[in-house]
Amino acid sequence: MKRLFGIALASLALSGCGLAPLNLGGLTPGQNLFQAHGYYNVALGAATDYAETPSANAKVVATATDINREVKPKLEYAQKVIRCAGPDLNIENVEAVAECAGLDASTSNVLRQAGLIRSAGRRILLALGKGV
């Protein structure tokens, strides 16, 4: 059962949290980031549910917690870029607002952030797969 569940989690990690972060699939950068964050929440939800079970492995929970702390600034940064630059990632919007100054609003950067967020979700699921 443990092995089956591990395989199921690994499958989720490789499909739902995607190995192809640069493939837009017809999505705008904002939609892509929204999808990455949504998938990340699913992985975080699985980790949280697991962590609250009586037999949760402390090491696995610590790993998931560390990954979550690590990804938090990426989530905040990526959203700030989207909110500052607007859906079309207009650099003029970024330069016009003081709090947005210096942000890298390039499409490649937003997609890179989305990829890092997906990767974090995948790492959480893989950690859970090893722990159960």
Binding site: L9, G30, N41, A51
Partner: protein, 79 residues
């Protein structure tokens, strides 16, 4: 004999806990996929309210995970 029954009961206990977790994850993935497809179909970006909802979910889950981690790893700091 008693050991075999205990083993089966143990397996059922694990299955009872883990299968709903797997189903919840699959349901969550489908919800995200449907939501993004909806955005794509409507040709629009996520609204501020939709971002806020996503962030609120992340924060609520983070709070629960941090609490569980503090209980399981009492000596650890929050980085």
């Amino acid at each position: 004999m008693g050991g075999a029954i205990a083993l089966i009961l143990g397996i059922l206990d694990v299955a009872e806990r883990l299968i709903p977790a797997g189903e919840a994850a699959l349901t969550g993935l489908k919800e995200v996929k449907d939501k993004v497809n909806q955005l794509k179909t409507e040709g629009r970006e996520p609204t501020d309210a939709e971002w806020d909802e996503l962030n609120a979910t992340t924060q609520a889950l983070t709070d629960r995970l941090e609490a569980a981690n503090a209980r399981l790893n009492p000596g650890a700091t929050d980085g």
